[in-house]
């Protein structure tokens, strides 16, 4: 029975809310009876179903309680429909209010309390009514149309089954209760009437509850009904038992006395009286047979016992080792990749137990040895001397030394290295002795003193008698070479006015019949006829210069056919004339002023930028100048006979450092910072471009036979180019310690020299053979020292005597020197 009730109870979870109503009527005698009934029921259920849990108890109780309530309700219904209708109406009204309320504020506790209070009023009223109508049993009312209506009390059928018990009040079935959360009711009863939500603990209820805690009060809320959940003492005990993992059933005794089924005591007396068999007392024949079999096998050698086997094996191993491994071997040559480990070097005297005393270390050496890291030490031990053999102690490092050797053997990479066991002197090239290559300058014989600034330029006249020097003090002086007497002096630049200007280049006209000196000072080129040669030569010189005035174009430079366009020949012919017409005059040939004439200046050529280098053509009519700053017009070719200046290039070729004419061919050598270009002037093409490989070339000079060239560079190198060979140097010589300023070939003798900022001049012998297959022979002859260093500048310029093996040099120490044999 009870089980059924429980099944149902899920369908009417709201019933318990009504129980609160019930609980309100605690003062009346009826409910006490009910409670008693309930208690009995619980006891019954206890005894019947042991495995029911707390919830079930709860629901069972609720079911019972609600059934009572239903009874009561029914009785109410019996009591009168009037009040019923009233209450319905009231409920509806309430519903509306509730709904409105709910829209605004959900479950206001005060609201609820109001509701419940009104409900209670109703109920109390209603109750009194039912009590009234109970007596008559038949209620006579009227229908709405006024007809009399008799409502007879409902027949209360008495069924044995619980189905009709009215327990299944809420008929919502499996629909979760939460679906009614927003409604005032929680379902419908069997008659389709709403089951109203029981009032939840209002403030007053709570107060009442707090004042007098009902029996079994837990403070918990029943999930299903929403009412507070009360538990009885038994229930609580039951729960406590479950919590403590105790038996809930009192009938089971966990400590039953042990019955020792399988005894541990051995019985002394035999269980049976059967006597011991004989076979227990005699050795087994079958076993004996088997053993004999094994023994036989061992004797016959079919089975070898493990100990013997081991011995045999060892013996075999030992014997296996004793044979000639190299019985029939033949010597084989080592493969080239097979490198034998080098043997350890033999011990030296130092290692002796009794070395000569000089091998012992002095205290300083010893200290030094100790200071060094063990890996850096030259030897791993300190030499020691012991008076006799008995005093020699053990060596502590033997194990480590052997260990390191083994590490070397398997870890160190091996390389085949050819040990050069030669005399270092044999590396020095075989060269002819300088003594056999005389004459060459050896010593300084004359010092030309007088200048007050460093001498940047010097030149020897073609007859080899007069040396002209141009210095930073603004003067040009001419010396008699052998005596060192100053014969002539002219001031070209007034250094008090133009401090920045220098005399950068000076060169005698190579024609022997005239004495004309070209001086490049700042932007101007002065052609001077010094009055030292006598009238005839001076007159010739002046005439030579003045003849050119007839050809003067007075500004309208005719385009010369000298233009060389090497790189781009397409736009050569077309663009040439136009561009040249547009071109401004590159240089101005001016007659000397009166003052200049007094200074023996024949003519002045004014260029646009500072002239740094000047070089005559061998015939003495042309000379070429270098103005490094003036872009594409940095190389200018001047013609003395026509007073004409031409710029051979249309495009800049970089910063030009030097230019020279070929000794006999119509070729021009142009030296830029990195390259030397050779142009053919007659065909106007680039013949060759040399790549010396230096960063910054300073000067070049061309061998008198025209097929070799030397270049000096500021990065300490002197480069010999064989023009017949490749464009890279035949020989790069690096012996100067500082920038090389000047190189020069002798015109007649196989000599050349180089001068550098380290104050030295190196003289070389250079034979160039007619045989094309033979390389030129270069022999260093002499290192000339004498010039002092001033502001880390040494020798600035050198020039050879035209015939003799004499060398002139000028330095930053304001002197020029003559070096003779």
């Amino acid at each position: 029975m009870v089980c059924d009730k429980k099944d149902r109870s899920e369908n009417k979870p709201s019933v318990s809310t009504k129980r609160t109503v019930e609980s309100l009527e605690v003062e009346e005698p009826k409910p006490t009876d009910d409670e008693l009934n309930v208690n009995g029921l619980i006891d019954e259920s206890d005894s019947d179903d042991e495995d029911e849990d707390e919830d079930e108890f709860q629901s069972a109780e609720e079911g019972i309680v609600s059934s009572k309530f239903q009874d009561l309700d029914e009785s109410v219904a019996d009591g009168g429909s009037d009040s019923d209708a009233d209450s319905d109406a009231e409920f509806n009204k309430l519903l509306a209010v509730d709904e409105g309320d709910e829209a605004e504020l959900e479950y206001d506790s005060t609201d609820f309390s109001d509701d419940t209070s009104s409900l209670r009023d109703k109920l109390s009223g209603f109750k009194s009514k039912t009590i009234l109508t109970d007596d008559s049993n038949v209620i006579e009312t009227k229908f709405s149309d006024g007809k009399p209506r008799i409502i007879k009390p409902e027949i209360n059928p008495v069924y044995d089954s619980d189905d009709t018990d009215g327990e299944a009040q809420n008929t919502i079935g499996n629909i979760p209760l939460s679906a009614y959360d927003e409604m005032p009711h929680i379902g419908y009863d069997i008659n389709g009437k709403r089951i109203m939500r029981p009032a939840k603990g209002s403030a007053l209820d709570a107060l009442l509850d707090s004042i007098e805690l009902p029996e079994g009060w837990t403070g918990l809320l029943d999930k299903n009904s929403g009412a507070s959940l009360n538990l009885t003492d038994e229930e609580l005990k039951f729960i406590a038992k479950i919590q403590n993992n105790e038996q809930t059933d009192d009938s089971i005794n966990p400590y039953e006395p042990l019955v020792d089924w399988f005894t541990r005591h051995e019985e002394i007396m035999p269980v049976t009286a059967i006597p011991e068999p004989k076979r227990r007392f005699i050795p087994s024949t079958s076993e004996a047979k088997r053993i004999m079999k094994i023994v036989k096998a061992i004797r016959e050698g079919r089975i070898i016992p493990p100990k013997k086997l081991k011995e045999m094996r060892e013996k075999e191993d030992a014997e296996n080792h004793n044979y000639d491994l190299w019985e029939n071997s033949e010597t084989t040559n080592d493969h080239i990749m097979n490198l034998r480990a080098p043997k350890l070097p033999p011990p030296t005297n130092e290692e002796s137990y009794n070395p000569p005393e000089e091998y012992l270390l002095t205290p300083e050496e010893r200290e030094e040895w100790e200071k060094l890291d063990p890996s850096e030490r030259e030897r791993s031990f300190i030499p020691q001397k012991f008076g006799s053999l008995r005093k020699v102690p053990g060596y502590t490092e033997s194990v480590r030394e052997r260990f390191e050797r083994s590490l070397d053997l398997y870890l160190a990479p091996r390389v085949r290295k050819n040990k050069l066991n030669i005399d270092p002197e044999s590396l020095i090239p075989e060269l002819p002795s300088p003594k056999d290559l005389r004459p060459f300058p050896i010593r300084c014989s004359t010092v030309y003193q007088g200048h007050t600034g460093k001498i940047r330029a010097l030149s020897i006249d073609p007859n080899g008698l007069w040396l002209a020097t141009g210095s930073d003090d603004g003067t040009v002086r001419i010396w008699e070479i052998l005596t060192g007497r100053e014969v002539y002096k002219v001031t070209i630049i007034d250094i008090s006015e133009n401090k920045e200007d220098h005399i950068d280049a000076i060169e005698w006209n190579p024609e022997k019949s005239i004495g004309l000196l070209a001086v490049a000072a700042a932007e101007n080129i002065y052609l001077i006829v010094p009055p030292i040669f006598g009238f005839e030569i001076e007159n010739n010189s002046r005439l030579k210069v003045e003849n050119g005035f007839g050809f003067d174009t007075f500004g309208n430079t005719k385009k010369a056919n000298l233009n060389v366009n090497s790189d781009d020949e397409e736009d050569d012919s077309a663009g040439d004339s136009k561009t040249s017409a547009v071109n401004k005059q590159v240089a101005q040939w001016n007659k000397a002023t009166q003052k200049q004439i007094e200074n023996d200046i024949a003519i002045v050529i004014t260029c646009r930028k500072i002239v740094k280098k000047l070089s005559w053509h061998r015939k003495g009519d042309y000379f070429v100048t270098v103005q490094p700053e003036s872009g594409h017009t940095s190389v200018l070719i001047h013609q003395l006979s026509k007073h004409l200046t031409q710029s051979p290039f249309k495009k800049s070729k970089g910063i030009i450092m030097d230019t020279k004419f070929h000794p006999f061919k119509p070729q021009l050598f142009v030296c830029s910072q990195r390259y030397v270009r050779i142009y053919d002037l007659s065909q106007q093409v680039l013949v060759k471009k040399l790549l010396p490989g230096a960063r910054w070339l300073s000067t070049i000079d061309i061998h008198p036979r025209g097929d070799n060239l030397i270049a000096s560079s500021f990065d300490k190198r002197v480069l010999w180019h064989d023009l017949d060979l490749s464009s890279t140097p035949y020989k790069t010589l690096r012996y100067h310690e500082k920038a090389v300023r000047s190189v020069a070939f002798h015109k007649k003798l196989p000599l050349f020299c180089s001068a550098a900022d380290d104050g030295t001049i190196h003289v070389f012998h250079a034979t160039v053979y007619d045989d094309m297959m033979k390389n030129p022979l270069l022999v260093p002859l002499k290192k000339l020292t004498g010039h002092q260093l001033v502001n880390s500048l040494g020798v600035l310029n050198t020039v050879w005597h035209p015939r003799e093996a004499w060398l002139f040099s000028s330095g930053a120490d304001n002197t020029a020197r003559l070096w003779t044999t």
């Binding site: 011990p347 053997l409 398997y410 690096r734």
Partner: protein, 590 residues
Amino acid sequence: MRVKKKNSSGNARNFITRSQAVRKLQISLADFRRLCIFKGIYPREPRNKKKANKGSTAPTTFYYYKDIQYLLHEPVLAKFREHKTFAKKLTRALGRGEVSSAKKLEENKTSYKLDHIIRERYPSFPDALRDIDDALNMLFLFANLPATDQVSSRVTKDAQKICNQWLAFVARERLLRKVFVSIKGVYYQANVRGEEIRWLVPFKFPENIPSDVDFRIMLTFLEFYCTLTHFVLFKLYTDNGIVYPPRLDMKKDKIIGCLSAYILESSEGAPIDGPKSNTVETQEVKTLDKRTLRSAMKADTNDNTEEQETDQAENVDDAKLDAFEDKNKNQGDLLEQPSQYNSPTATLFSGMIFYVSREVPIDILEFLILSCGGTVVSEAAMDQLDSVEDFDLSRVTHQIVDRPVLKNKVANRTYIQPQWVFDSINKGEFVPANLYMPGESLPPHLSPWGDAVGYDPTTEDAVEGEEEEEKTLDEDSEENEVEEEADDDSEDDEDLKAQKELELEAQGINYSKAKEENSLGEGTKVKVKKRKSEEEEEKDLKLIMMSNKQRKLYKKMKYSNEKKDEKIENLKKKKKQIAKTKSKLERLEQ
């Protein structure tokens, strides 16, 4: 055109880094190391490291690709792998507590042989002899090491055995050529089949074992060297008609240790006279062994001392008697000897009997004397005997002593310090024994292989001009050093001059003439100097014409030569200084 793949030829193909090699062989690094040691595979230095490393410049070790390829097929490698699985099985069995199965596994453990590797590495016997230096060095070191937890006693015992076999062979065949006692031990050099073999035997002192030495590597090497030396010894012994392995005379082994305990028998059966008198009949030896062993067992209880003594005395007498017979035989051989031994050192001590005092290390001297044809009687061995009187010591020619004072000198003997033996062997003839008397300060012991920088400490200063210069220099330095002895100095100078005069006279040059020469020399000196400077200048100029590479090489060579010269100069200077102070001390003593 076909595009050539990168890193498929040349250095990139020929060399392989170590990690690549290990991965290729699929073994652990430790196994790889062992394999490399066994197979003699070593890292290489490629010409172009960057190319070999496929463009990377990280520092790595390279192996030759073909070497690694060649390792792939190595049977020992397979054995290593087997051993790995064995180790796994064993640990598993032990972990499960299955002792019997572990034992079974242990019994059936695989072992590898190195025979084929030795044959591969040294295809011919001379190849093996060429590389035996390192093997001997290692073996002699381990023979002297105590057995520790890292080095088992079996290993050291094996090493000892092989070492003694080697020494016995060298001594018997009289192959020893040079000996050098250094502070590290004794270096010996023997000529075996035309191959000069040099090895170092450390002094018999407890070795200092550094903690940071990896003995696994050393032991791997030792394993290989043991096998190699074993085969080499076998070949040497059998080729010379001696039974290998030689038997050990247990009794003698007990008494004095090493060499004389080895019995070298000819393969014909009859024992050959060894360098020492080891000619005891084999059977006798066997019985003796047993007896001595037994006696040794009983020695502690002191029960049978008498018996033992008599036994020993008899035996030793036998031995000694035999020895003398042998000597006679040798004398008979004397005529043959030049053909038999092609070195003067081999017969240097023939016919001589050395009595070695107990303070002298017998192992060194016994080996040396035996291998030079002498006979040894050691005091230490005599101590073991009771009846010394029976022993005939009258024929002893030399007694080797290393103590400052010696009493009870015997008339017929030459008393010498051990260094006399070393220096005589190195020189190939007897050095004057009076320099090596006991208690005498010894002349320096020089290495027979000379000096590292080519300095010869035995030469006197020959060039007189040099001497003069140095003299002035020395005077200067002296003045700086000792100002207090100023008057002494002047005396010194006079003395020196007088000395000089005397010396010159002895050389047959008139002193006055010499003086003139000197003065003339000073005049010419300037010229010489000038000439020298000119020559130097010329050389400097010639250097200009050298290529950069040549010039660098030249400078390097020059530098090293100069350093060598500097060292020699330094030594010379020190020598002079020492001589000076010595002479001064002597004078002060007078």
